[in-house]
């Protein structure tokens, strides 16, 4: 199951302490087909994170609406998985207990949620770490747990806000390929914010380039690379061409 996301005339304005208003986002309108992988690129402070929060239903828009399938987003929904740059694990819970948290909150019986978590561990590369505490994990491992915590809910859509932004290049590449692998199998709709052109082109079907604040869509670039994709694809001519196109759009934005 995957969901389509429709954003219509969506805007966010922040109230500043002096009574001024700071337009952060939009208004933007776009549509994401069910099961597609879309990356958002843009300068910092262009409202990318705000967009994610609006779509996740943890912040209200100042204007416009967003829809999941045909339902207006007004509050958080379980079928939407949300992940940030920081893993935000609970340091007092082991890897396994962190993974099962969403199911625990949803009231899934214990044996069922443990089975679900254990089934996820190998694909996440965490097989030997279920009893470890977050403080004992590297940044990459912690982020894998966070990813697992999102996936365990079997969401219809994933909202990822620079999920690998704090990781080193090597770890980042490996974990994004793992994400790609898992996505190939599940085909949830993914909306991912990143500031890495390489990562965006490698993962996405479509790259949305945002302009400076208040963020609007400056370019909508289709990535026509065949799937499943491999790291080797990034050395091809087509990859280079698309990446160049994205880079040009960013510098004009």
């Amino acid at each position: 199951m995957s969901a389509r996301i429709t954003v219509s005339d969506l805007a966010a304005v922040y109230q500043m302490p002096g009574g001024d208003t700071l337009p952060a986002l939009g208004p933007v309108s776009f549509h994401i087909e069910a099961g597609s992988f879309v990356c958002i690129l843009g300068p910092s402070g262009c409202g990318k994170s705000t967009l994610i929060r609006l779509l996740a239903g943890i912040q209200r828009p100042s204007r416009g609406q967003a829809f999941l399938n045909d339902q207006s987003i007004t509050q958080p929904a379980r079928r939407v998985g949300l992940m940030f740059q920081d893993a935000n694990l609970m340091p007092w819970r082991t890897v396994l207990d962190n993974l099962v948290l969403p199911l625990e909150v949803a009231g899934v019986p214990k044996s069922e949620r443990l089975a679900a978590a254990r089934a996820l561990l190998p694909a996440l590369g965490l097989a030997d770490f279920e009893a470890a505490y977050p403080g004992e994990l590297s940044g990459g491992m912690a982020q894998r747990v966070a990813l697992g915590r999102v996936l365990i809910q079997k969401p219809d859509a994933l909202l990822l806000d620079e999920p690998f932004g704090a990781l080193d290049a090597m770890t980042r590449e490996r974990i994004s390929l793992d994400l790609l692998d898992m996505w190939e199998r599940q085909r949830q709709t993914v909306l991912m914010v990143t500031h890495d052109i390489h990562e965006a082109v490698l993962l996405a079907d479509r790259v949305l380039v945002f302009s400076r604040r208040p963020g609007r869509i400056a370019a909508d670039i289709r990535v026509s690379l065949p799937r499943p994709r491999r790291l080797e694809d990034t050395y091809g001519a087509l990859f280079g061409q698309i990446a160049g196109q994205v880079r040009a759009a960013i510098s004009q934005a």
């Binding site: 943890i58 509050q75 958080p76 929904a77 949300l82 609970m90 007092w92 819970r93 625990e104 004992e136």
Partner: protein, 331 residues
């Protein structure tokens, strides 16, 4: 080595000045000089022994870093040294005490000998008096601690969550805390009688404030990212409380509990000082009025042990409950 000896000498010189000043009144210069002559070798002996133990501990490292202080290590010898050092300090105190007694600087009813205190301790343990008073105090301490901590947890949570309650209650709480508990203890006796209740109330009041502050800080310190996470999972208020707020605030709550555990003892004793017919505070007052100084010391030491045990118990529970912290730090 010479550095340590130098320090030892300096230490003795300071001690001599202190002793001379202390004994200026009523004691001849000759006596204090005699005292210094006894104390100086004692001090340097203790210092040298301590130094030798430290050298022994730091031996492998001392080859490269001769003056480095011993590190906390896992080697049994080092651990033994660490354990011995406080005992050494205790022995020093007892030794000093005995020396003062032997020199007869003060009459025995002002400074009784360690042996006399021990003898008194054996007597009051034997006839059950110590247990009677200690258990009375302990009951007040535990009840005061329980009531105070519970009230602080409930009110602290409410203040942390509601800015209205914060605005209404915080000034009152601060005013209450700014008044010394000794000052309003008599009032509490008038209201609650000289029985157990008034001691529980004084204990609870003295425990309340630090525990309240820690609760507020702990709950407000819950990372907003984790709150967002719970919200995104559509967690209920109860789930957010029990799965996020309580465990996240736990480390701060435990440091509050440790402070409170020792404060509760003070609270109960303050209450007993003002008016009581049993308890260690009452015993101290009684013994003082009869110039039974050994009994005063026994009662004081019992209080020390009681407070220390409560603190140790709280630490033990803390270490069990927050095992994840030490696990995480190890790597």
């Amino acid at each position: 080595m010479t550095v340590w000896m130098e320090e030892g000498k300096r230490y003795c010189a300071v001690l001599r000045v202190v002793l001379v000043l202390c004994t200026w009144d009523g004691v001849s210069l000759r006596t204090s000089f005699r005292l210094c002559l006894v104390m100086m070798p004692c001090c340097s002996a203790v210092r040298t022994t301590g130094f030798l133990i430290m050298q022994l501990n730091a031996f492998p490292k001392s080859l490269t870093r001769p003056l480095a202080l011993p590190q906390i290590g896992r080697r049994p010898l080092r651990r033994l040294g660490r354990r011995l050092t406080p005992l050494l300090a205790l022995a020093l105190v007892l030794l000093g005490w005995q020396v003062v007694v032997l020199l007869e600087v003060y009459p025995a009813f002002i400074i009784p000998s360690p042996a006399a205190v021990l003898e008194k301790a054996v007597t009051v343990v034997g006839d059950g008096r110590l247990w009677l008073h200690a258990s009375t105090t302990l009951a007040a301490v535990l009840a005061g601690l329980g009531v105070g901590v519970l009230a602080a947890l409930v009110l602290g949570y409410a203040i942390a969550k509601s800015s209205l309650l914060d605005a209404v209650l915080s000034p009152l709480v601060v005013a209450l805390q700014s008044t010394p508990v000794v000052a309003y203890a008599p009032l509490l006796i008038i209201w609650f009688g000289s029985g157990l209740t008034s001691k529980i109330v004084t204990g609870a009041l003295i425990v309340f404030f630090p525990m309240l502050i820690n609760t507020v800080v702990g709950i407000r310190g819950v990372p907003s990212e984790l709150r967002d996470l719970m919200r995104a999972m559509q967690a209920t208020r109860w789930q957010t409380f029990i799965k996020l707020e309580v465990p996240a605030a736990m480390p701060v709550l435990f440091s509050g509990l440790k402070i409170s555990a020792t404060l509760a003892v003070i609270g109960a004793v303050v209450g007993e000082f003002v008016s009581a017919n049993a308890g260690l505070g009452f015993l101290i007052n009684l013994a003082r009025s009869q110039y039974d100084t050994p009994l005063v010391i026994v009662a004081v030491l019992t209080l020390t042990v009681m407070a220390r045990l409560l603190y140790g118990l709280a630490s033990l529970v803390e270490r069990r409950a927050l095992a994840w912290q030490s696990r995480a730090r190890r790597d």
